[in-house]
């Protein structure tokens, strides 16, 4: 699964939209950038579509794009309550990797990683995918054993991964503290060089522009108020901008999945939890890779702007408030200062919260439902961003063919009845 290259569909902008390039930039500069056209049309809702995607985040826009680009389905609308990428797409810490423990996870995240590689060219939009490496630190003998298990599995899944000792880690990340006398010393780590980060907003915008180029209608400020059914089949969606007829609805509304599912009297095994993150003031480059630590519970990278980007795990209670409790960032910062003493004299610039829907087994749901024509893609927890292209790619396939492909199949809802879970808990205290 992980080896064959996914079908990327059409490259660039076959729809004939204005191309982006350094040359175009220079040309447009001559008349003060007055004639750049819109990145995507402000489409009014039509009466009917073949497929309606609810949720204009990265996953939803990617789904719409691949429906058009790979499956030739282009009577597609993406309806978004607010603004594109306003949910977790625009609120995450942009970490991308595929070094997961279980085969099913490795398959979908590696599928996604292959799509990340070359996404800027596919979409003619620089999403700044930066393969600066993701290094996961182990702080105890137990974690070293778990790490070894993980790396062996990852390698046999054909995914790059290597084990580093403390001194190699120090060489790779000069600012890290490898003093063996600290409470949880750095005992080792494993590195995925192909992992890294990307510019989160650009992912939403890039997919929107490319999907629009293929005829997809992108409809912002359009809130879904109901799902109209005829017996056990979807026939359309009610929105604040009127009824839209369609026989296929794909829901990709991280955080609010339970709410939308409720409109069809469907219940999902999800809990909506706050996920907090923060950035420091921008400084000149000091950290050129992504560092994760489950034991001290934090992850950190430095953005191209120079901000140190920090995240941790979810809060302990359900919430739809896009805000969490202070002890979480408080502990995250202590952990960060412990591993990177130089942070002590930096300052927090901006802090925010998102809502992630988490599954009992910390793995996503990509599934048909017992309502015909209604599909859900949710439950990505704290790890959804990295999966964006892969998630959209297999979800588009599921919707187009009304049956899951081999990558999506393990993520069907029935796993909660059989008990054949894909339990990534042990694998990731912070599932990044």
């Amino acid at each position: 699964m992980a080896t064959d290259q996914p079908d990327r569909g059409l490259r660039g902008l076959p729809g004939g939209k204005q191309k982006y390039s350094a040359f175009a930039l220079a040309k447009k500069a001559m008349n003060y950038h007055q004639d750049w056209q819109r990145a995507w049309r402000d489409a009014p809702p039509k009466d009917e579509y073949d497929v309606v995607i609810i949720g204009g985040g990265g996953h939803g826009l990617a789904t719409a794009y691949y429906l058009a680009a790979v499956h030739g389905v282009n009577r597609v609308a993406v309806v978004e309550k607010g603004w594109l990428g306003g949910g977790n797409t625009g609120r995450n810490t942009t970490i991308i990797r595929s070094n997961y423990l279980w085969d099913e996870s490795a398959a979908i995240y590696e599928h996604a990683l292959k799509l990340w590689e070359g996404m800027s060219q596919d979409l003619n939009f620089n999403v700044m995918f930066s393969q600066r490496g993701v290094l996961t630190i182990a702080h105890s003998e137990h974690e070293l054993r778990e790490m070894s298990r993980r790396v062996h599995a990852i390698r046999l899944n054909g995914i790059d991964s290597e084990i580093l000792g403390p001194s190699e880690i120090k060489k790779f990340v000069p600012i890290i503290n490898i003093d063996q006398t600290i409470r949880y010393p750095v005992m080792g780590g494993f590195l995925q060089k192909r992992g890294g980060t990307a510019r989160h907003d650009a992912v939403a915008w890039g997919y929107a522009r490319a999907a629009d180029d293929l005829g997809v209608d992108i409809i912002q400020n359009c809130e879904v108020t109901g799902l109209r059914r005829n017996g056990r089949r979807v026939v359309g969606i009610e929105t604040n901008r009127g009824f839209i007829k369609t026989r296929k609805v794909g829901c990709v509304v991280a955080g609010h999945s339970s709410v939308v599912a409720g409109m069809a009297d469907i219940r999902l095994p999800l809990a909506s939890r706050p996920l907090q993150a923060l950035v420091s003031e921008p400084i000149k480059p000091v950290l050129d890779t992504v560092i994760m630590s489950n034991a001290v519970h934090m992850y950190i990278s430095q953005s191209d702007k120079g901000e140190m980007v920090l995240g941790a795990g979810v809060d302990k209670y359900n919430s739809y408030a896009q805000r969490g409790s202070f002890p979480v960032p408080e502990h995250m910062i202590a952990a960060a200062v412990e591993l990177f003493p130089l942070l002590s004299r930096l300052r927090m610039l901006r802090h925010w919260g998102g809502i992630v829907d988490t599954c009992p087994d910390a793995s996503p749901i990509i599934s048909k439902t017992d309502v015909e024509g209604l599909y859900f893609n949710c439950g990505w927890g704290t790890g959804g961003f990295k999966a964006t292209p892969g998630s959209g790619h297999v979800f588009a396939d599921l919707i187009a063919n009304d049956r899951p492909n081999s990558i999506a199949a393990p993520y069907a809802l029935d796993r909660f009845q059989t008990g054949l879970l894909i339990d990534e808990h042990g694998a990731a205290g912070v599932a990044h």
Binding site: S21, R145, H152, W205, Q220, G306, F326, V337, L346, G419
Partner: protein
């Protein structure tokens, strides 16, 4: 800094310092260094005021275009004047010169420039800025794909602001404190002071915090206000004195309220010693306050808005209110030939202040019909006023030198006549005021647009909170104080204190109309995007054209504009740019400002130090370390340790020159040939009492517990309700209604929580009482053929004969007079005694046994040897063989799952069809073909090592060691359909490409019949 006096001689005089006036102490000169130049200011100066006193405006370079930038503000909203302060390990980047108090020897340098501030190579970006519009990087750097990392490397180094400290270990100390109060007042300006006084007089416990070094807010910068007949300065002094005298009031200057969270939880950072050259060792550098407030009063004042005109970012272009503050508060006159450019009355007070300080002033007012007190006052002193006009272009190289002034239409969207040119060295601009609603917004308070004042101000609150003063849209001094009085009264009352409404003080201040004229983007007589840039966000170099470009490209939601142009994302978080940006966005959308909306403000109000947030929760206090009572002995005897949860456990005891493998082999052999001694104190121990204790265990464990005899021990397996193994251990019946449970070391806390949860929430009808006794008992496990001899030698007072003391029983006894509980249970398969003793005797017992065993070959062994010994016997370790996805059947432990019990936790889940599937992972043993080769734990097994990637994996090796007793390598593994593979061969591909071949065997490698259990 000892050389300081010498500097004084060489330091140039402060040519822009007025002879008199201001709150600086002219008797206390202070020398400091900026970009290598030694300069002089006075005590009471900020770095900004001191630089301006020395006629230095150019202090930094902008983020994107590296344009020369000067000081524009006098407070925390400053976007430009960011400097790096301090040396070596104490250096700190990105500090605002307007907030840095100077002290003798202060060392500061400008940032984001190379090689120097005056000549910065990065400024080439400024020349090429036509090619770098908003979002340019999304449109390019894509070809060839392989080059992006190279492009990015360059971009990264061009970006970023300051450099971190040269030495990364922060030498300073930080503290945190929790506080509760009835009323927290954020902001100590007139409104805040009035509110705090009122609440304080009611007897309420009040905390008043202000980010500045002195209370008083912008009143500190007003020379034309008297309150109750006193000068502003005197009134402030009296107010602060009265507050200081109140026992229940805490005054926190230099303290920023940076976060406002649920249920009135607020976070503050107090800068305790940052302003001192010599830092007293007993004080922390900063202290974070975590305050739970009954009521809050937000009185943070307002921020003045710049005007958006071509060239408005030149050094020497400043905010009007800031100019006034520098004159009146710091006695600094930042220019001689000055232009005041305004859309409101307030700037006239600045003009008058400049005039009073001897500067030449021309007022350029966007408004037409000008009346009112301050206008008259300006005319009266002969200040030239150009009404209905705008500064259309400001010009100069590294400091403003001249301006073009033209008559403009209402709204300044069109130039009506040719400009006149005017030379100047300072431009004071005023675009009206924006209330600082940040904390209100953080706390989910709602905002409303005020058509008259052209600003967002608080409407409804979400928490127990009040807004007051300029922060509430009440700019007039008298009204702001009345507003503060109201808020103080209301907050105190809601907090449960009695207080008269009181009467606001008598205020005399210039008559002014607070309504500004709406004029957002000032036309420059050229086409859109032509002519010098007009900046909206100074620090991030976002221009009016950038905002319009974003709109043209369809980035029209305010959040999209912000993210596409980076408007408001700089370290000032848009304090001076938000409203201007919003207005220009609304304009280009042909929409109303309130319809466009505003972005939500988030913590922190101003950047807030990580050091203070981490406080002392780092180093050894990051997480507790748990040590057993025998720990000192282990250390004294050269043990190495491993982390097990919070515990430090003895891992192995290497003797001189021994490798780990040699040490562990020696320990393992001793435990089977003579005797080994293990410190097992970390095992979780739970005391269970009550008439229903047996019934409870019966529901908790998979096997049956009702008939367990008193004094008898039984091994139990605990499942989650999903049927997966969660913990195991031996539990002993001490009495009819009394049990002693042991759990895994890591699982102890979780198991107690688990048991309490079931008792309290599912079976409250059961009478069972739980106590964690992990710390009550020290445990020494004596194991091996000589175990009995050693116990006798140690002076045990009971018969150890197996018939008197059989396997899986417990006896109370004494060893050398010390009361002990001895459990005859075994994790090694050898004759074994787990001796529990009151914790405080743990070390004594250990030493006693070591002595008694000396002649019987007693050998202390650590956790590694323990692992090998139990693996030789095929005993599992929960968390090593299991990972939350393993059932008892998977472990081949059906024998422990009762078929007769009606119910136990996990029973129903085990009955699910999929749990019986043939291809589930099952526990097996592995015997390597090359018997010396030890498989690395975590290695995965396959049937065909030559298949293509991704390989079909059977499962992982969970435990693997060299067994000196078997004389070969042994391993346990969880393999798909493992039982069916018994006798077959599997292959384990290594990371280095080698492949290990192994036979699948039963997971018991030693004494399969268990004949050694009685020694």
């Amino acid at each position: 800094m000892s050389a300081a006096p010498m500097f004084r001689k060489s330091a140039p005089e402060q040519i822009c310092r007025a002879a008199t006036g201001g709150r600086v102490d002219r008797r206390k000169p202070v020398s400091f260094t900026f970009d290598g130049r030694v300069l002089q200011g006075f005590a009471g100066d900020t770095l900004a005021s001191a630089l301006l006193a020395n006629n230095i405006h150019l202090v930094g370079r902008s983020f994107k275009y590296h344009r020369p930038r000067g000081i524009i503000a006098a407070g925390s909203e400053e976007p430009n004047a960011l400097v790096r302060v301090g040396h070596g390990a104490r250096a700190e980047p990105n500090l605002r010169a307007t907030q840095v108090e100077i002290y003798e020897g202060l060392y500061a340098e400008s940032q984001n420039r190379f090689p120097s501030l005056k000549f910065d190579i990065g400024a080439v970006n400024s020349a090429l800025q036509a090619f770098f519009p908003a979002g340019f990087y999304y449109k390019t750097f894509m070809w060839p794909a392989s080059m992006w990392m190279t492009y990015e490397h360059v971009i990264r180094h061009a970006a970023g602001l300051g450099r971190v400290a040269d030495d990364h270990d922060d030498p300073d100390r930080y503290e945190k404190t929790n506080a509760h109060c009835d009323v927290l007042v954020a902001g100590g300006g007139v409104a805040g002071l009035t509110a705090a006084l009122q609440a304080g007089r009611s007897g309420a416990r009040v905390i008043l915090a202000d980010e500045q070094n002195e209370f008083g807010g912008w009143l500190l910068g007003e020379a034309d206000v008297t309150i109750d007949g006193k000068t502003a300065a005197d009134w402030i002094a009296d107010a602060v004195a009265e507050l200081a005298a109140m026992p229940e009031v805490t005054l926190l200057p230099r303290t920023t309220v940076f976060g406002y969270m649920d249920h009135n939880y607020l976070t503050l950072t107090e800068r305790v010693t940052d302003h001192l050259g010599e830092r007293p060792a007993h004080l922390p550098r900063q202290r974070m306050w975590k305050v739970r407030a009954g009521q809050t009063i937000l009185a943070q004042g307002a921020h003045e808005r710049p005007l958006v005109f071509s060239g408005n970012d030149l050094p020497g272009v400043m905010l009007s209110g800031a100019v006034r503050t520098y004159i009146n508060r710091y006695g600094v006159v930042p220019g001689n030939r000055t232009v005041v450019f305004t859309n409101n009355d307030d700037a006239y007070r600045t003009a008058l202040a400049l005039h009073g300080a001897g500067a030449h002033v021309v007022i350029v007012d966007l408004r037409r019909d000008l009346k009112g007190g301050v206008v008259k006052a300006a005319r009266a002193v002969g200040i030239e006023i150009m009404s209905g006009s705008a500064v259309t272009i400001a010009a100069g190289t590294q400091r403003i030198a001249r301006v073009e002034i033209s008559p403009v239409n209402e709204g300044a969207s069109a130039v009506l006549d040719d400009p006149i040119h005017m030379d100047c060295d300072l431009l004071a601009m005023s675009g009206g005021l924006s209330p600082a609603v940040h904390l209100h917004s953080q706390a989910r308070g709602k905002l409303g647009w005020d058509e008259r004042l052209l600003c967002f101000k608080p409407t409804t609150v979400h928490e127990a909170s009040f807004n007051a003063g300029a922060g509430n849209g009440v700019f007039d001094t008298a009204k702001a104080m009345a507003d503060g009085l109201r808020a103080g009264t209301a907050a105190a009352t809601d907090a449960g204190f009695d207080i008269e409404a009181g009467t606001p003080p008598e205020v005399s201040a210039p008559q002014q109309n607070w309504r500004p004229l709406a004029a957002w983007k000032i036309a420059n007589g050229k086409g859109e995007g032509e002519g010098p840039k007009a900046f909206v966000d100074f620090q991030n170099d976002v221009t009016a054209s950038d905002v319009k470009l974003a709109v043209r490209e369809g980035y029209q939601s305010v959040e999209h504009v912000k993210r596409y142009t980076t408007l408001g994302m700089a370290t000032d978080q848009g304090k001076t740019s938000n409203i201007n940006g919003l207005a220009i966005l609304a304009e280009s959308l042909g929409n109303e400002i309130p319809a466009v909306g505003t972005t939500t403000f988030r913590m922190p109000y101003t950047p807030s130090g990580f050091g203070a947030i981490a406080g002392r929760d780092i180093g050894e206090l990051f997480d507790p370390t748990r040590l057993t009572r025998m720990d000192s002995w282990h250390r004294a005897n050269g043990a190495t340790f491993e982390h097990v949860g919070q515990w430090m456990r003895a891992w192995y005891y290497p003797q001189k020159g021994e490798t780990m493998r040699e040490a562990v082999d020696r320990e393992v052999l001793a435990a089977r040939t003579t005797a080994g001694l293990l410190d097992a104190s970390t095992l979780g121990k739970i005391d269970i009492q009550g008439p229903d204790a047996a019934e409870f265990l019966n529901r908790l464990y998979t096997n049956s517990w009702l008939k367990l005899g008193i004094g008898k021990c039984r091994y139990g397996l605990m499942l989650k309700d999903d049927g997966m193994v969660m913990d195991d251990g031996v539990t002993t019946r001490l009495g009819e209604n009394h049990f002693h449970m042991t759990t895994t070391t890591g699982g102890a806390a979780g198991v107690l929580d688990w048991m309490e949860e079931w008792l309290q929430t599912e079976w409250p009808d059961l009478k069972v009482y739980l106590t964690s006794v992990t710390e009550e008992w020290s445990v020494a496990t004596l194991s091996g053929p000589n175990a009995g001899k050693i116990l006798k030698a140690a002076g045990v007072d009971i018969s150890l004969d197996p018939s008197d003391f059989p396997f899986m029983t417990m006896r109370e006894a004494h060893i050398a007079g010390l009361p002990v509980r001895i459990f005859r249970i075994s994790f090694t398969g050898e004759l074994s005694y787990e001796i529990n003793i009151r914790a405080r005797y743990g070390l004594a017992l250990w030493k006693l046994l070591m002595e008694a065993g000396a002649t019987h070959g007693i050998t202390p062994y650590g956790t590694e040897a323990m692992h090998v010994l139990r693996a030789e016997k095929g005993f599992i370790i929960v968390g090593q063989e299991t990972d939350g996805s393993v059932t008892p059947q998977d472990l081949g432990m059906d024998w422990i799952v009762s078929k007769v019990k009606p119910d136990f936790i996990g029973k129903r889940a085990l009955a699910r069809g999929s749990m019986a599937a043939e291809d589930r992972k099952q526990l097996v043993g592995l015997r390597t073909r090359d018997r010396r080769t030890v498989i690395p734990e975590g290695a995965h097994a396959v049937l065909d090592p030559n298949q293509p990637m991704p390989m079909e994996m059977l499962g992982q090796v969970t435990s693997s060691y060299y067994s000196p007793n078997v004389g070969a390598s042994i391993a346990m593994a969880m393999l798909k359909g493992g039982r069916a593979l018994l006798g077959g061969t599997v292959y384990l591909p290594m990371l280095d490409g080698k492949v290990i071949e192994a036979e699948v065997v039963e997971p018991v490698f030693y004494d399969p019949k268990g004949e050694r259990i009685n020694g």
